[in-house]
Amino acid sequence: MSIGTFSRTTFRGWLGGLVEPRKMVLILVTLFVGAGALIPIFFLVWDSFKNVYVGNLFDTSLTNFTLKNFREAFADPRALGMLGDSFLFAFGSMVVAFFFGGTIAFLVERTNTPLRNLMYSLMFIPLVMPGMLKAIGWILFLSPTIGLFNKVWFAMGFVDPIFNAYSIPAMFWVEGLSETPMTFLFLGAALRAMDPSLEEAAYTAGAGKFTTLARITLRMMTPALAGMALLQFVRGIEAFEVPLLMGASAGIHVFATNIYFAAREINPPLYGQAFVFSLVLVSLALMGLVLYQRMMGRAGQYATVTGKGYRPRLLDLGKWKPAATGFIFLFIIFAAVLPFLILLYASFLPYYQVPSAKALSVMSWDNYRSLLGRSDVLLTIKNTAILCGIVSVGGMIIATIVSWIVVRMRTKGAKLLDGLVFIPYAVPGIASGFAFMIVFLTFPNPIYGTIWILVIAYLVQFMPIGTRFTHAGVAQIKAELEEAAASSGASLVTILRRIIIPLILPSLIAGGLYIFLLSAKVMSSAAILYTPDSTVLSVMIFQLWNEGSIPMVGSLAVLMIIAFTILTILSRRVGQRRAMTSGL
């Protein structure tokens, strides 16, 4: 990072300026972003070509490079199977997410489906529920032995189970449901960005509804659809929780689970293989994201928003209207209601059993009582609160400062920072968690084994997400507003506190909440970095599940979902009120 970034004065002047608190803040943030983005990547690349094992994690010699790790990783016949399974799983979840997300986006934006305007609020329901809990919920329906649907099937006189939760189709079904809200929001926005008169011109040129749909609407949407498909595919390749819970026990592996087992479950750990799989995963993600950016450039060319923002002509569904509303609600039921209900049901049982009169008679609040009496649970709740609180607040502070540097200082250094902050987006949580583990094992430090290593890993992982919220906000603030404050003698901290933060508060709250929920929901890097003292809720649920205490999982899940829901509602309220009073 060039020192010319922040000052064009002489070196001595710059040195003198260093002690200025304003510059200290900027430099510290830049260093954090740079280190957080580059060090894990460096380790992933470097160690992939080194002979690494416990006791020799970081070989600094400039010779000794080897392809041994690659040979070993791909010599394993299961590696090929893993590749195939990964791609099939990613493709399947993309299809499921498009089927639901695309259809619902079309119904909401382009047809007169009753209650369609509720959809934007309803989509928050599946978003609050962690993917892991969706997986557990669906296992309780689809498991060949204890699954409710199969039990009903058996009761109808069949012998072989009809569903198998531990199979690739079941896995991509759940992953696809999890990814649907994102697909819906994205495709809905793309549909709305389309100039309605493009469709109207087709009607007046003599084209009917379906010709217009096929030759204008769909074709206009092609870049957005392709971009989204690619993004979903990348996310599918990176997925961790669903394959871990549903696939691993049946021997179905994907990249993320392979890394996890090689680094954490196998003894002695196969670090070399973990590095290789991480590197391949990061490369795939990077390629996908670059292609995605290209396509979005095309989509931007097509998005010719003009006119007054009225909705285009809505397709009249006629007698299909109830079916369309039904479809939307069916999705909400699949993605949130069913998994929640079965977890809720399980949470009242002493041991798991399918619903029956006997089961109803033994239901009680005991699990909740014992849960809140367990010291490890309380410690985990405390850890999670610390993690989520610091990562969301700290993440948004870093994001604000980064955005301010990127938007205000149009120097080369600022551009570089903009690129750096985006890098973690291409590093899946499991790979970055693994890289951080090696980094902190290599250099002696007091925070390995504490919650703070998780804080750092999550802060880095969510940097690109935070800046997505703050970039636009900061760009909207005219430089004069700040200059007016600066010319009246305010320091940078004062300017941030009194001018910038109040003005972009709504996006800060929205971004903070989003990161808070992500930190609590996503298990990937935590799964690699936790120790008994630094367990968080997602990890604890996974452990309880492995121990087989489904009722405990249920009660913890229910508490978690309730807390997240309250938090979401509160933050949306605050965000909206602030947005109104500040006139933004």
Partner: protein
Amino acid sequence: MIKVTNLSKRFVTDRGEVKAVVGVTFDVPKGAFFTLLGPSGCGKSTTLRCLAGLEKPEQGEIIIGDTVMYSSEKGISVPPDRRDAGMVFQSYAIWPHMKVFDNVAFPLQVKSKGLNSAQIREKVKKTLELVRMEGYEDRPATQLSGGQQQRVAMARALLQEPRVLLMDEPLSNLDAKLREQMRVEVRDLVHRLGLTTVYVTHDQLEAFAMSTKIAVMFEGRIVQIGTPWEIYTQPANKFVAVADFVGLANFFEGKVVGGVGASGRGTIETTMGTLECTVPEGMSTGGKVLISARPEVVQVSREKPSGGGAIMLGEVERAIFLGEYFDVRIRIGAETVRARLGPYFEVKDGDKLYVQIAGSSCSVMRSESVASAKQ
């Protein structure tokens, strides 16, 4: 060719109900260039979109040719793709994923009229020649300038050989020079092709230069229909005369004091003196009227002029030099009169000048019609 009867359309929005079009009635003869003129939000586009079938009105009847396209009474509503109305949009609506050729050929491709691809090619070529875009067939639509997009949009609408051509502010996104040029081009083209056209604009000059008939709209209603000359010289009420888009006017209140004869001329007493004007039909002695006189018909001189009409002495309150003319406000008693003086008049604030208004260059409207237009 087009007959619209008692058309009404409202929108329900978050902020309540908007009556976009209220009881609009008009007739467009075959081959006419009919313009809807009015300020922003008065319902011009909505009226046009009802004609195209892009909006469904609540009430009224639309007949194009001899087909009933919409009738609330008979429960008829023909969808837009079967109305045979070519439309040119304000945003041009050129499909960015197609080449110029496919944009223009689209109407023929979707409605097979028994043409083979060579014939379609030939037609597209001819139509592009009409709009002076020959040779652009293979250009991607994203690489066209605003003026070129406008021409392609015209070509697409013309290729359809529609029964009626509908245009919604097609020139408003062009720069001033090009707009002036296209005004003449578009008018000549549709005249040559003999197309019946309904045109929407908020630009007075555009409407005057292009139209055979103008309908002035205000808050969802049509307040006057007439030729451009009629609209300018005989505004039906104060709104038509005063609104920015139909020029400026001086207004005086007056009273008919006599002499309304078969010629329709009468003597009117005003604060500015006594005038001989054509009075509205059915007006009799004693009726209250409002007189409008355009600034350019107000005669100004330093010496007292001879001859008739109202002659008053006034003082220049403010004279603004605008190059082509001086825009002068002259105070006469309690009234202020606006006039235009040639650039060589060399008027300055405080000058004492005689003002003369000839009754023949004024228009007279009933006071009541003024009140009703304001509601």
